[in-house]
Amino acid sequence: MQPRLLEIRKGVLDKNDQLARRLRDRFSSAHTLAINLVSSPGSGKTLLLEKTLASLRSTGYRAAALVGDLQTDNDAKRLAASGVPVRQITTAGNCHLEAQMIEDHLEGWTLNDLDFLFIENVGNLVCPSSYDLGEHLRVVILSVTEGEDKPLKYPPIFHSSDLAIITKIDLAEAVEFNRAAALANIRAVRPEMPILEVSAKTGVGMAEWLRFLLVQRAAALMAIEN
């Protein structure tokens, strides 16, 4: 018997991608810039977000955060101290966030009241790369303590991001961080990627990061108007 073929041609993540597109439309029409933060565990994502939320709040912008973790709500508690709405998404072992989890956790929030929505993904450089969460911007975070070759080891996540932030630069000298190699590696997997160097602890680079966010939001609003 000859084997026969039935053509299907269907994207494995179609369901997630369709929901993500609907979420992005919702964010856009509410003038909310959605940012998906991805990194490995311990890159300083939460501290960066803590300082970012506090700065945005003090300059009159309205921000909120969804925080993904396998277990515990420690990060959400930490972030709530900055005075902005924060919700924890506990994935119970799941290594990444999916669009459905985002939609479920938006319930009760009025997006029109938000200028920025940050989504702190589960600390993982592999799995989150495949899942569109409806974000406008994907930001990959790499700390100086991690090694300059991370982009070469995990190309899809770096490739799929719109901005790379190198964190903990106050420690760069102590850990003999090879800045040139890190920048070259990021741009090898994603030519022309904008890169910011930040220390959330000392505040170095935070102004550039906030400016980047405001410019991106303005650009997104312009795109909607047109």
């Binding site: 026969r4 039935l6 494995v12 990444h96 495949s130 996540i157 490739h159 090898a188 030519p191």
Partner: protein
């Protein structure tokens, strides 16, 4: 490891299509997997067996067609496949390019089944 949830999606899509077409004996599922899909081939193969267990796809093969990244090189005015994903630059002239033309695929292409098991044509 997200390959298990990816494998469940593959099984769900294939089962649904087989059901619609009235096919019972599926021998293989053909999948396109791009080098930038973020999915690891060996993990997916391993997870597929687990995900297929207890479904009509149990015992079927997952045939993975790996798709390399291909970029458009503005200098050569050509689309060229790359040997890896570590350097997005033209393998011919070295010009770096983020203009990706393939490599994101994560798609169920077809089902392979025994010919005695003809799909029922719905008219």
């Amino acid at each position: 490891m997200h390959e298990l949830s990816i494998a469940h999606n593959v099984v769900e899509i294939a089962s649904h299509a087989a059901n619609e077409a009235g096919i019972n004996r599926i021998q293989a599922v053909h999948l396109k997997l791009g080098a930038l899909s973020g999915v690891e081939k060996d993990s997916l193969l391993f997870c597929y067996e687990i995900a297929a267990e207890g479904t009509r796809l149990q015992g079927s093969r997952l045939e993975i067609d790996e798709i390399p990244v291909a970029i458009y090189c503005p200098h050569c005015d050509d689309i060229l496949p790359l040997p890896g994903v570590q350097a997005l630059c033209c393998p011919r002239c070295g010009t770096s390019s983020a203009d990706i033309r393939q490599g994101y695929e994560l798609e169920v292409i077809s089902l392979e089944y025994e010919s005695s098991d003809e799909p029922e044509l719905s008219l």
